[in-house]
């Protein structure tokens, strides 16, 4: 035996499973094959790792795969819905502004003079924030006033 048992024990702690089983040609594997005491230690280490592997394989997900798939599908649909909202949101906001302007132009909907709220002068927003930020800025007939639309 080229190595003694103390050296073998140190190496057993880091060795590959093949060496623990004495199946290798390494110095350690040869020692394990020839030394009953180290063979017993190596066998125990292998058995311990097998026990650990078995125990971990019992720790299965508590959520059934069918349920997990349904949840994942629901989350995907929700994400898609928000994508659509952020894509069409500015258009919808512009449409709302247009409707408000039309309503204000009707005699019955005119505001009383004292309120004097400036109306947007053009429909295209001056500033359009990045998708998802949901802010539009419009010019009004009054140069000193802008309409900032949070939606």
């Amino acid at each position: 035996m080229a190595i003694d048992c103390n050296a073998a024990l140190e190496r057993l702690l880091e060795a590959n499973p093949g060496e623990l089983a004495g199946r290798d040609d390494s110095e350690l594997a040869v020692h394990v094959r020839e030394c009953g005491r180290c063979q017993a230690v190596a066998a125990r280490l292998l058995a311990g790792q097998e026990q650990l592997a078995g125990a971990l394989s019992e720790l299965r997900p508590r959520t059934d795969v069918g349920e997990a798939l349904s949840d994942a599908r629901a989350r995907r649909h929700k994400a898609l819905k928000w994508q659509r909202v952020s894509r069409w949101g500015p258009v919808a906001a512009a449409a709302v502004v247009a409707v408000v302007m039309v309503l204000q132009s009707l005699p019955a909907a005119r505001m009383i003079e004292s309120e004097n709220v400036p109306t947007p002068a053009r429909l295209e927003p001056l500033v359009e924030a990045a998708a998802g930020q949901n802010v539009l800025v419009f010019e009004t007939s009054d140069q000193s006033a802008k309409v900032i639309w949070f939606y």
């Binding site: 060795a15 230690v41 280490l45 026990q51 997900p61 795969v65 994942a72 995907r76």
Partner: protein
């Protein structure tokens, strides 16, 4: 130990189907890898609740990112990256360690616990000790690598590809993990190491 190569069999057909919008193919793909994803997530997080969340997030990402799978690596290698990324994002959000000490002890014991054999089987408490060492004493990386190589049978070369890590670094983590686990194993059998000089 599992045989990691077999799980990838027939996967290309399922991927093609899923990409073509076939929900059944996507579901079959998920069913095939569901427990594996959870196991990866568990080894990565060391926490059962976190592993559930990571698994769920991985399913969502799998659907989103599947078109980017180019087939150059094994599907399981690619999927492992998706799982890992989901775990890393979750890790940023949580201070898991705070909850871990209490939870793993209670939960892994609850799962492994079988009252019928509790008193008779000393292996039960030894195994429970080992699971706790695995979950709590190893670093995330050590746990992940030890699980992949020694418990699931991936080669160190495969793992270095999966983790995008140098093989020498993988081995270094593996050796440290083995040492911690095996010392724990031998702690439970002091008679085996009697007579060895330290």
């Amino acid at each position: 130990m599992s045989e990691p190569t077999r799980i990838d069999d027939n996967v290309p057909a399922l991927i093609r189907g899923a990409l073509a919008g076939d929900e059944t193919a996507f579901d079959d793909l998920v069913r095939r890898y569901y427990e594996q994803i959870y196991r990866w997530a568990l080894a990565r997080t060391g926490d059962r609740d976190d592993a559930e969340d990571v698994t769920q997030e991985t399913l969502v990402r799998l659907h989103r990112h599947l078109p980017s799978f180019d087939g150059r690596s094994r599907f399981s290698t690619w999927l492992y990256q998706v799982t890992r990324s989901a775990a890393a994002d979750l890790h940023r959000k949580r201070t898991r360690r705070d909850r871990l000490a209490l939870k793993v002890e209670q939960e892994s014991a609850a799962v492994l616990h079988d009252p019928r054999q509790d008193q008779e089987d000393a292996d039960y408490s030894r195994t429970s000790d080992l699971v706790q060492t695995f979950m709590q004493k190893l670093s995330d990386r050590q746990r992940e690598i030890f699980d992949l190589v020694d418990l699931q049978g991936f080669s160190t070369v495969e793992v270095s590809a999966m983790l995008r890590m140098e093989p020498v670094t993988v081995r270094s983590h593996l050796f440290r993990a083995r040492k911690a686990i095996r010392k724990k194993i031998l702690d439970n059998y002091p008679e085996l190491v009697e007579g060895y000089g330290h």
